[in-house]
Every structure is written in structure tokens, then in C-alpha cells.
């Protein structure tokens, strides 16, 4: 019942609120986020949840610069042309302060180039392409995720230790697969000059003829296989290879295959003993990860995928940058991003001043099967800063200015 007392109390509370929080009453800081939600939903739905969690935590702690934050998300349709348009919409119509997000390499690079032209900070969340910080790097673009080169480099020590002579390679035929293959060949050859690459298969992304590919690789009689397949291609390759006995006595290395997004669908068929990069979420015991895990599970009643960590850490990076810059001025934000350090669920990362790459690490280990599910065993964490080329090499690759 609405009594006079309650009415009075309510009014009083409202008045009090308006007095207490002049900061809260201010418009929130808008961060523009774009991604290919409908093209890569398996990765990006958890990613979106990671973003939501980060926003909630930041705002519960009072926001940044005394204002709440708001992440405005758009779908870029996986198309660079659309991405540039929605990026512009986020900036000019929504009044976003700067940009974060993107998944495929070509979209990431297009938005990076747009950011340079528009002189706006862009924190690329997921694109793995090495070019975004090296060959095509620019002053306004920073990248969070452990890149193709870094993840490949993390697998090299294990590959060298096994000392296999004959390697076969399979990769999805586009930028990510191509650069993973190139990096792997180069790095392995440096450490093990007598290595031989006996077969190379480049099926189109999402359309692998797994039986024929497995057969062609088996015909080359390799001692080991390096693969950068993921998603449906990976699942098909695993099944055909197992049925056809391709993996018997052959060591397999597969980038990304330990990420829950791609490992979980394989269930009881998860290939035992494969060397992978990934995210053993259930086994991490660091305080920063436990905190993240508990909050995530409490909010979504689901376990986090790697995408969740990426989404969460991207927003946190943006917030820390604002905090450090103390303003929303682009040049100040960019200056703040250089050398910015923050704690992510994967521990401390730093956005390197030299090439704007974060030192976010990854987990390297082997796939095991337990209770009809795949998991990562014998894993270790590799810090991103230990998987990067020398500063001199980086400077050679990155354009001056």
C-alpha cells in the first residue's frame, strides 16, 4: 500500500541519492565494440558474456573517472566493409570514446587501418594475425590476444624435444593458417636444421574433405603432424584420422585445439596425447583466475570459454587505459596504453610499447580424455613475453612512424 510515510521515505531517498551521486548521474563512458557475432557464434557468445561480467564488475566498483561505463556492441557481419561502417557509427552516432573488439584477421586489420586514419584508439581483442602489430602495425592499434606467432612459438620447445624428422602440415587456407605454418616451419628449422616437411595440405576453411586429407597425409608417412585446424574442420579431421589410423605412432601438434570452444565438442573422441595451446579452465588455481571463474559461474551458471577471458580482459584493458590516461583524449589514451600493465584472469599482462602487443600468455599442454570429455594434461603456462621475437626483429618488421 502506498502510504504517506512510504511516499515520504521514497522521496527522501531520491533526494538523498541525487545529492550523493553527482558522479553517478553523469552519462556513462561509452566504449564501442564490434565483432562478427553471427559468423563465429561458438567463440563470441562466451566472449560477449565476458564483456558483460567485466562491465558489471567495473560499474559495481564505481566505474572509472567517476563515471559508469557502457559497452555498445555491434555485429560487423564478418565483413571489413561493414565493420568500417559500424565503427564509424559507434564513434559518430553513439559517441563511443574508442573501439574494441573484432575476430577475423581481415576485419581486425581493416578496423586497425580505420583507427589510424581516424586517429582513434583501437584495442583488437581476438584477431590472431601477426600483421596487426608488425607489418601493418600503427600508432593507434593495440592487440590483446596471444598471436599466431606467439602460440606457434610456444609449441616449438616440445616439438624440438621430440626430435622428429618428417613433418606433415595441415592448415585452413587463409591468413591464420598460412602464418602459423610459416612461423612453425621457420622456427623449427632454426632449432632443428635437418627437419623435413613431407606434405602440406591447405583445405578451405570450414570445408575440409577430412577423409582425403587424412589419407594424403598418411601417404607421406610423417613422424609428426603440425595442424592449425579448429572448429568443424578439426572435429572432422580428428574423427577421420582416428578411423584411418593416421595418428598411430605419429605425434600431433595442433594450435588452439585445447580451447574449450574447440575441444569440448570432441567429447570422448578428444585425441589423447596431442600437443595443443588452450585453456584448462577447471584446473587453474591462481587467485586471479579463481576470482574470475567464481564470478562468471555465479552470473551465467556456465563455465567460461577462452572467449570469455578475451572479452573480460579486453574491457578491463580499456578501463585501465582510461584510468591511467585520466581522460578520454585519444593521444593520452594511446600514451596510456603503451606499457600499460593490468591483472587478467591469466595473470599480469603488459601492452608492449615497442609493438603494442600484449604479453598475455597461453597454456600449453597435451589433450587427455576423462569421463568421456577432453581436458588438458601436463599443461604449463607460457608467458607471452617469452614467446616473442627479439626487439631488433620486431623493429625491422614494424613500420616506422
Amino acid at each position: 500500500m502506498l502510504t504517506r510515510n512510504r511516499l515520504l521515505a521514497g522521496t527522501a531517498a531520491l533526494v538523498a541519492l541525487s545529492l550523493v551521486g553527482p558522479a553517478a548521474a553523469q552519462a556513462p563512458i561509452k566504449i564501442g565494440e564490434l565483432n562478427s557475432y553471427k559468423v563465429f557464434p561458438a567463440f563470441l557468445e562466451p566472449y560477449k558474456k565476458g564483456i558483460e561480467l567485466a562491465v558489471e564488475e567495473v560499474n559495481a566498483a564505481g566505474g572509472v573517472l567517476g563515471r559508469k561505463i557502457e559497452v555498445v556492441s555491434r555485429d560487423d557481419n564478418g565483413n571489413p566493409g561493414d565493420a568500417v561502417r559500424v565503427a564509424e557509427e559507434l564513434l559518430s552516432r553513439e559517441g563511443a570514446s574508442f573501439l574494441i573488439g573484432t575476430f577475423p584477421s581481415n576485419v581486425g586489420l581493416a578496423v586497425a587501418d580505420f583507427a589510424k586514419q581516424r586517429k582513434v584508439l583501437f584495442i583488437a581483442a581476438e584477431p590472431l594475425t601477426d600483421k596487426i602489430v608488425w607489418d601493418q602495425g600503427n600508432a593507434y592499434t593495440f592487440r590483446l590476444r596471444t598471436s599466431t606467432y606467439m602460440q606457434t612459438a610456444m609449441l616449438i620447445p616440445d616439438a624440438v624435444k621430440l626430435n622428429k624428422k618428417r613433418w606433415a602440415i595441415v592448415y585452413p587456407n587463409y591468413e591464420y593458417g598460412q602464418s602459423a605454418t610459416a612461423a612453425f616451419k621457420k622456427l623449427l628449422k632454426e632449432k632443428q636444421p635437418d627437419v623435413e616437411f613431407v606434405a602440406e595440405q591447405a583445405p578451405p576453411l570450414g570445408k575440409i574433405d577430412a577423409g582425403a586429407v587424412a589419407q594424403a597425409l598418411a601417404d607421406a608417412k610423417p613422424d609428426a603432424i603440425f595442424s592449425s585446424l579448429f572448429g568443424p574442420d578439426l572435429a572432422k579431421f580428428v574423427r577421420e584420422g582416428q578411423t584411418r589410423g593416421l595418428f598411430k605412432g605419429v605425434e600431433v601438434f595442433n594450435l588452439l585445439a585445447g580451447e574449450p570452444e574447440y575441444l569440448d565438442p570432441l567429447k570422448e573422441e578428444s585425441p589423447d596425447g596431442w600437443y595443443v595451446t588452450g585453456y584448462p579452465w577447471s584446473e587453474l588455481k591462481t587467485p586471479e583466475h579463481t576470482k574470475f571463474l567464481n564470478a562468471y559461474q555465479a552470473k551465467f551458471k556456465d563455465y567460461p570459454r577462452l572467449g570469455s577471458v578475451v572479452g573480460y580482459a579486453t574491457v578491463m584493458s580499456a578501463v585501465e587505459a582510461i584510468k591511467k590516461a585520466g581522460s578520454l583524449d585519444q593521444e593520452k589514451l594511446v600514451a596510456a596504453m603503451k606499457g600499460l600493465t593490468l591483472i587478467t584472469p591469466f595473470g599480469m599482462v603488459e601492452y608492449r610499447a615497442i609493438d603494442h602487443q600484449s604479453t598475455m600468455g597461453a597454456y600449453v599442454g597435451q589433450i587427455g580424455v576423462k569421463d568421456g570429455k577432453g581436458y588438458m594434461k601436463n599443461w604449463r603456462f607460457v608467458d607471452g613475453k617469452d614467446a616473442l621475437p627479439s626487439d631488433a626483429d620486431v623493429q625491422k618488421m614494424r613500420p616506422k612512424n
Partner: protein, 624 residues
């Protein structure tokens, strides 16, 4: 390759061909009878996979559970096919040719979001077939037993279809309708029932093709579009309406792919050639080759002339005042609206020229193109590469780009004008895909899958408003020019050729020459649209040549109305605006987009502009 590996790759190819054949046979059947280019056929295949996955979960992994699930899933997909036919397509059979494509495109969007909503985003790896999970050893190689079963299923289904088509009354009706559906109708056969039943059978085949893949392919949301292009290729290579042809084509393409993979990388005369990378485009190369040599596919026959229910309506000469008023209004927009409106309008203006150039070739010139993005993309790349690699000033690159797109149109067009109907359309698609794959692979020149960056306009055009005016002037001039050409003797000759090729040639029109010239003209102008688009974005990626871009063009033209001049412009504007507005506000924006298009399709079977014109005409009649 050793003999053993050749044999095994042959078996791999045959196994891959089985499902491809089932899907394509269904597509061929549906097209043969209803003349509908069913874009949603791949979605039906995808539903077959998802359905089988869920049913196996429900029935359990026993042989009975597995096969029961496969059959039930196929039948359930057949029911979905009936739903699509009865609820949507039946209402628009009288619409202009190809309009049904628009409806099936909308269905694709809706089904994709329904699948996402029902089954979630994660890939679903189905179980192996109970009792067939092992491998069989052949010449020291292990091949999955299930693959051998698939190899057997193909000919069995072919045989059953053959019996159904040649030994039953229904089959006789289907064959008759494939040859001459008006005659079948005139003889008193209930067309509605026949069409529905054909849709059911075709959909069951698609569903079965999908469900049978469950041990080989995880159910995922990309399957629909991955399959549809292959199915079209198989159907056309085999010859439309020919089930035997589809079987043959599926085998050729399946085996060719397997051998490309089997051969792998070889070195000839010191040049390394990766046949494995060729799998990206091999089916389109085969299609181009087959169509150039055999214009009706391997086992197809020349299409019987369709008697158009009504001749295409007269084109109304666009009034100059009308066009100028619009141009003036558009020129005033930047003064009143915000920055983003200008940017969105720049997109719309580019797509409008793209759509008008497509409309020119598919409407008045009567040559449908499924690969129009080839010229848009080549124009964009030409502009970008001239600027970045040859160091030309931006203005020169912008003006030279259409010429280069035109050069490609000279080559592609020469082959295309030798064909007609859907075969022509598919050859244009083949050329577009071949161009796309070259751009996608040629890292050192085109930047490969990433594309070209830093394609920004000169300083005086850097301002978005200035660039908008440039786009408006160039694209507006292109559109007006194309409209003007339609009312020149050249344009009349083209329309004569569309309406009656025989008579047109009899009165001395060199039809092929004219059509070729039309190809080059629209190619160059689509190239202009692409170049203007490229500079507005600052980057170009292979997606500007992709099937998706070509499809967008078709949707714009059909949405606006293929029988009007202004339709494509309105279509381009509505489609671009819709995508911008819908994608912003909803999570399931694809379904909403599909729903809106379906609504337009059902309310305005002549397209938006065509429908509005009909409404105005009726209103005037009532007043008179």
C-alpha cells in the same frame, strides 16, 4: 601417388559424392518442375544434420536408433519443405522470374537463427554409426566402413528415383512438368499439389543427405551456405532437371577434389603448384569448363521455352525532373543530418549503382548474373592496387578502375553470352568465384585473405561530406547514364533480344554482339561502384568479390522490383538501411531481417516499387 593411394582417394571421392548427389538431386527436381532457384536447399540439408543429431540423442545410439533417426530427420525436413512451399512460395509463383529466390533467401536467414536458437552456437559432433564405426583395410590402407556404405547408397537412391520418375504416374507428371508445366496445367493436373509433392521429395532428399553426414560432419551453422553453392554447381554441371546428370557431376566433383588433395604439392619445371589449395575453387573450374563446352550441362537438354504469363511491362522513361529533384534532395542531406547518415548514404549510393548495373543486365537485357560482384570487386581491387602498388594518384586510380573491370567483363562476357538462362547465371558465378579465389590466394599482389589496406582518398576528399558528394556525382551519373542507354536504340535492341531472340536476329540485330557490349558496359559501371566503395572504406577484402556480395546485389534488385527502373535504387537503399538498423537493435537480427523480407515478398510480389506502382494504378482506377 601410388596405385593404392589412387584407389583410396577414388573411394574417398565417391563417398563425398554420395551426400552431394542427394542434395543436388533434390535441388534439380525442384528446379525442374517449379523453376525456383531454391536458396534454402542448403538450410534443409543443415536441418537434416541437426535433426538427426537430436533424434539420435533421444533414441539412443543403437542401430535402430541411428537409422530411425536418419529416416525420421529426413521426413521431418520434408515437412519443413512443405511448410515453406505452402506458406511462402505458393503465393508468389506468378511473380516475375527469380523473385522466389528472394523469398528463399529470407528463409535461409530465418532458419539459421532458428537453428542457433534451438541448438546453440557450439558445433555438435554426432556419434559414429553403430556397427559401422570401424575401418576396412583395403590395400594396406584403412577406409571407414561407413564411407563404403555411403558409396553404395548413392546408386541405390539414384535407382529408386529413376523408378519413381519412370514407373509411377507421379513421376510421369513430374517429367511432363519439367518439360512444359503450362501444358501440364492446361491438361487439368492440379499444379499446387504437384508442386507441393515435388517440394516434399526434394526436401526429403536434402534432409537425407544431411542426416547421413552425421558420422562425418559436425552439425554447425555454416553448413547451409557451404552446401548450397556446391549443390548448384553439381546440378548445373549435370544438366538441370537431370537426376542422372547430377549423379555423374557429383562423382566428377567429389573425385576431382579427392585427387587434388591426394596429389598435394608438386613441382613442375621448378614451379611449386599446390593442388591442395585448388580445392578452394576446383568445382567452379569444372563448371566453367563444362558450360563452355556443353552449354546445357553434361546430360541436360535445352530448356523448353517458357510461355510468359504476361509480357514484361513497358519501362517508363524516367523523368528528368524526378531524377533531379532526388539528386538535389540527396545533395542537401549532409547539411541537415549527422555525420553517420552521410556515411550510410555513401554506402547506399555505391550499392545503388551496383544494383542498377545488375538490373540492367538481368532485367532489360535478360541475362541473369549470379556473379556480378566480380566486377564490383575487381573495380575495388583495381583502384586499391593502382594506388598502393603502382603509386597512381587516387583520382587516376578511381577513374581507371572501371576500365579494368570492363576489360575483365570483355573476357568473361564473351563466354557468358553464348549461354542463356540459369546456365548463363551459373557461368557468371563460376567466373566470379575463380576471380575470388585468385584474389584470395595471390598474397604478394592482392594481400590474400586479408586484402589491401590504406586505400584512402586524397586530402581534398578526406572529409566524409566531400567524399559523399563525389560518390553521389559519380554513381548518380552512372545510374542516369545506364537509364538513358536503355532508351537508346542499343537498349531497345537488348530488350528485343530478351523478348524474342529469334525475331530480333531475323530483323538483323547482332544479338550476341549487343549482349556482349551490355556485359562490358555494366561490368565497367559495377567496377566504378566498387572503386568508389573501396575509397570510402579505406580497405578492400576478398569479401567484395564473394558470393555474398553477388547475392546482396540480387536481393536489392528483386526487393525493389525487377520490372521497374527505380526499383533497384530503392532496393539498395532499403536493404542497406535495414541491415544497418536491424543489426543494431536485436540479437536475432538475421531472423528479423528474413521476416521483413518475407513480409515484403508476400505483400509486394512485384517488388517494392512495382507493388507501389500497382497500388497507385488501382487507386486511380477506383477514382476514375
Amino acid at each position: 601417388m601410388t596405385l593404392a593411394s589412387i584407389l583410396i582417394q577414388l573411394l574417398n571421392g565417391l563417398a563425398a559424392a554420395a551426400s552431394l548427389f542427394l542434395v543436388s538431386a533434390g535441388l534439380s527436381l525442384i528446379f525442374g518442375v517449379t523453376r525456383i532457384v531454391n536458396f534454402a536447399h542448403g538450410s534443409l540439408y543443415m536441418l537434416g544434420l541437426y535433426g538427426a543429431y537430436s533424434l539420435i540423442q533421444f533414441f539412443g545410439r543403437t542401430p535402430l536408433g541411428f537409422w530411425g533417426a536418419v529416416v525420421l530427420a529426413a521426413l521431418a525436413v520434408g515437412l519443413v519443405g512443405i511448410l515453406i512451399e505452402v506458406l511462402v512460395l505458393r503465393r508468389i509463383y506468378r511473380a516475375p522470374e527469380l523473385f522466389q529466390l528472394l523469398a528463399t533467401f529470407a528463409v535461409v536467414l530465418v532458419i539459421k537463427d532458428i537453428a542457433l536458437f534451438t541448438w546453440g552456437a557450439e558445433d555438435l559432433v554426432g556419434p559414429r554409426a553403430p556397427g559401422l564405426s570401424m575401418a576396412v583395410e583395403i590395400m594396406g590402407r584403412r577406409i571407414p566402413a561407413y564411407d563404403l556404405l555411403l558409396i553404395a547408397i548413392g546408386p541405390v537412391v539414384l535407382g529408386l528415383l529413376w523408378l519413381l520418375l519412370t514407373r509411377t504416374r507421379w513421376g510421369a507428371l513430374v517429367r511432363a512438368a519439367t518439360q512444359d508445366r503450362e501444358m501440364v496445367g492446361a491438361l487439368g493436373v492440379d499444379q499446387a499439389k504437384l508442386f507441393t509433392s515435388v517440394f516434399f521429395v526434394g526436401s526429403v532428399l536434402a534432409g537425407l543427405g544431411g542426416a547421413l553426414q552425421i558420422p562425418r560432419e559436425p552439425a554447425n551453422l555454416e553448413l547451409d551456405l557451404a552446401v548450397i553453392a556446391d549443390a548448384f554447381v553439381v546440378t548445373v554441371v549435370g544438366g538441370l532437371g537431370s537426376i542422372g546428370g547430377a549423379f555423374l557431376a557429383a562423382i566428377i566433383i567429389g573425385v576431382a577434389k579427392a585427387f587434388c588433395i591426394g596429389i598435394g604439392t608438386v613441382t613442375w619445371f621448378g614451379v611449386e603448384i599446390s593442388f591442395s589449395k585448388l580445392t578452394l575453387v576446383v568445382e567452379f573450374l569444372i563448371m566453367a569448363l563444362v558450360l563452355v563446352v556443353r552449354p546445357y550441362g553434361l546430360l541436360g537438354k535445352p530448356q523448353a521455352a517458357q510461355r510468359a504469363a504476361e509480357p514484361a511491362p513497358r519501362l517508363q522513361v524516367p523523368s528528368w525532373t524526378f531524377a533531379l529533384v532526388w539528386l538535389a534532395l540527396l545533395a542537401l542531406v549532409p547539411l541537415a543530418a549527422d555525420r553517420y547518415t552521410t556515411i550510410l548514404l555513401t554506402d547506399i549510393v555505391c550499392f545503388a549503382l551496383f544494383a542498377v548495373s545488375l538490373h540492367f543486365i538481368m532485367g532489360p537485357a535478360g541475362m541473369v548474373s549470379f556473379g556480378h560482384a566480380a566486377y564490383f570487386g575487381i573495380g575495388a581491387y583495381a583502384a586499391g592496387l593502382l594506388l598502393k602498388r603502382f603509386g597512381l594518384p587516387m583520382e587516376a586510380a578511381l577513374l581507371l578502375a572501371p576500365a579494368i573491370a570492363g576489360l575483365f567483363a570483355i573476357v568473361y562476357g564473351w563466354f557468358c553470352v553464348r549461354l542463356s538462362g540459369v546456365y548463363l547465371a551459373m557461368l557468371t558465378l563460376a567466373f566470379a568465384q575463380i576471380s575470388w579465389s585468385v584474389v584470395f590466394q595471390w598474397d604478394s599482389v592482392t594481400g590474400g585473405s586479408n586484402g589491401v589496406f590504406g586505400v584512402w582518398p586524397s586530402a581534398w576528399l578526406a572529409d566524409k561530406t566531400a567524399y559523399y558528394y563525389l560518390a553521389l556525382v559519380l554513381c548518380g551519373a552512372g545510374i542516369l547514364f545506364l537509364w538513358r542507354v536503355l532508351f537508346s536504340p542499343f537498349g531497345y535492341a537488348l530488350r528485343a533480344g530478351r523478348d524474342s531472340p529469334l525475331r530480333a536476329e531475323a530483323i538483323g540485330i547482332d544479338l550476341r554482339g549487343f549482349q556482349w557490349a551490355a556485359f562490358v558496359l555494366v561490368g565497367a559501371l559495377a567496377g566504378l561502384a566498387g572503386a568508389v566503395y573501396a575509397f570510402s572504406k579505406g580497405s578492400i577484402s576478398p569479401s567484395s568479390i564473394s558470393i555474398a556480395q553477388s547475392t546482396d546485389g540480387l536481393i536489392m534488385v528483386l526487393l525493389g522490383g525487377v520490372e521497374t527502373l527505380t526499383g533497384p535504387v530503392v532496393g539498395a537503399a532499403i536493404f542497406t538501411w535495414l541491415r544497418d538498423a536491424v543489426a543494431r537493435n536485436t540479437e536475432f537480427w538475421r531472423a528479423v531481417m528474413g521476416g521483413v523480407i518475407l513480409l515484403i515478398v508476400l505483400l509486394f510480389p512485384q517488388g517494392l516499387v512495382g507493388g507501389l506502382k500497382a497500388l497507385v494504378a488501382r487507386w486511380r482506377e477506383q477514382r476514375a
